[in-house]
């Protein structure tokens, strides 16, 4: 593997053993925190849970039966399609708004930037239960501020129920999820922007590059690694979104029409104690995420080296 090292680094004193000493602590934390639950899930996904298991009987192993049940269930595929669409919408909107806000932070005066950062911080750090309570209030059909404002400007929204129609339910969900994730994107990309050197920008500007050219040939390449990571994580997280959808469902909607993968897993597992099927869905989500992101991750790792 030394051959892989860039030539200029080959002269450096090699410290054998250090690589693993530096990486093992991180692996140890991951294994300790998440190893057991992950293995438990893989095993459970091959077991069958029924009424007897609720009374403590050990669940029998049924091989891939749970996966076959899922694959032949049209409802599962509906939920998958819904989740992918929801994820695409949320991730795209979040990335666009987040990047624009990061750019905005980069050009405004310091105290305006601080004001923006603190507002975003407040949205980001609000306990999710409180945030969801406020949001369901804002969209409440009778006393909600949103209906009140829309009615005030003459639109027919008096007593409009936002959560009963699946499409409008997901519209509200997208707004809330985007509101909660934009701060993360904006903060991360802004951190990337601070690495873009003023001097290079100035030099390019003296050489006659327009603002547009400076942006696309200097700024974008510099912050691309950060954008790549943030986008990747955003897609992964939006695919497994759970709490927001669960609490919105509680606020009043038809569950079967608004389930995403996260709430479907919860409904199967905690809801009907079918941990085998729930784990199988969860492993399926893992596989789906890998399929969606594999190409992208590969090009990311390739570009790095």
């Amino acid at each position: 593997m030394t051959a892989d090292l860039a030539p200029k680094r080959s002269g450096r004193r090699r410290i054998t053993g250090t690589p693993y000493a530096l990486i093992i602590p991180a692996v140890a934390v991951l294994v300790l925190a998440m190893g057991y639950p992950l293995v438990w899930q893989l095993i459970t996904s091959t077991q069958q849970f029924g009424l007897a298991q609720q009374f403590g009987q050990a669940a029998p192993f049924v091989g891939l039966q749970n996966y076959i049940t899922l694959a032949t269930d049209p409802y599962m595929w509906t939920v998958v399609a819904r989740s992918v669409l929801f994820c695409a919408a949320c991730a795209a909107i979040t990335m666009v708004i987040g990047t624009l806000l990061a750019l905005l932070m980069n050009v405004v005066a310091r105290w305006v930037r601080l004001l923006l950062q603190i507002t975003l911080l407040l949205a980001w750090a609000m306990p999710v239960v409180a945030a969801m309570t406020v949001w369901t209030w804002l969209f409440n059909l009778r006393s909600g501020v949103i209906n009140w404002m829309l009615t005030a400007i003459g639109l027919p929204f008096h007593g409009h129920n936002w959560l009963i129609e699946p499409l409008s339910f997901f519209g509200v969900a997208v707004i809330i999820v985007v509101w909660m994730s934009v701060p993360f994107v904006a903060f991360s990309i802004y951190a990337g922007l601070t690495q873009v050197s003023e001097e290079v920008m100035e030099a390019a500007s003296i050489d006659g590059a327009s603002a547009r050219q400076r942006f696309f040939s200097i700024t974008v390449p510099m912050i691309r690694p950060v954008i790549a990571i943030v986008l990747l994580l955003q897609v992964i997280w939006d695919l497994r979104v759970f709490t927001q959808i669960k609490l919105l469902q509680t606020a009043g909607s038809v569950k079967s029409e608004t389930n995403l993968l996260g709430t479907y897993i919860y409904q199967l597992g905690t809801g009907s104690s079918d941990f085998g099927l729930a784990s199988a869905v969860s492993v399926f989500v893992l596989a789906l995420t890998i399929v969606i992101s594999a190409f992208y991750v590969r090009s990311m790792l390739k570009e790095e080296s």
């Binding site: 690589p19 692996v27 932070m105 239960v129 990747l232 890998i290 790792l301």
Partner: protein
Amino acid sequence: MTTLVTPTATSRVVARPPSSRRRGGAASAKKLILALAAYIVAILFLLPYLEMVVVAGRPAKELLSRNFFPTHFDWSNFATIWSTGFGGNLSTSLQVAGGATIVVLVVALPAAYYTARHRFRGRALFLLLVLATQMFQPAAMLVGIQREFLGFNLPSPTLSLILINAGFNLAFAVWILNAFVSSIPVELEEAAVVDGCTRIGAMMRITLPLAMPGIVTALIFTFISAWNEFLVALTLTLSAPDSARPLTVAINSYVGQYSIDWGHLFAGSLVAMVPVVILFAVIEGRVVSGLTAGAIK
């Protein structure tokens, strides 16, 4: 970096006069519009907060009133909340989020530094494994987590929560720090070594300060995620005394099956913001920016 970037920038230049950067009126108008945009965004993001403050300050007997603003504000919710054991919850949350943040930075920094600076066997595998931990639904892992950590029989759930939150948030820290360290030219470190610095000294004095925006981002991210984590906290503190529960669980307990203690719910949530804002205020100034590119010529 300089030599790489400038040619691409210039080669694309079409015949266009160098744009003068200070054009007086136009420039300040643009500034004003941008600032205005910032204010509008800020207000949009604060909209839910406005509602929260209004409710937290609403006197109990006006809760059902249809007016948006109460006739007067009554801040007693902010005082009475402390008698519900909120101080203990706050301290538990601080320990969990603070502990998880420290663990994440201590283990992620060396790993990210090494993966950014060296190509070694298993490097891609390590980065992928770290990423894969994000692909599982936390709600689906609850049963496994419960079995594992209740089996450990630790004296308090706080330690378990620190470890789990560190595990949940390690991926972002490793990947973002890897990206930031990669963007810092290794020549800077080598120059420092030539000037008599040790390797570790070069890393501490050159690379870490330059990667500070990334470190700060990882720090804020981990702290906020751990501060807000709810499902695992709820699962692991079911049998713990009230005051040993983190804030999110305490706040959730104001939402009952049939009635909701609005005042305390929102007062608690507003108080929960304070440590996060303080943390940000403390580290914001430490972001060193844009030092790298000019350093090698």
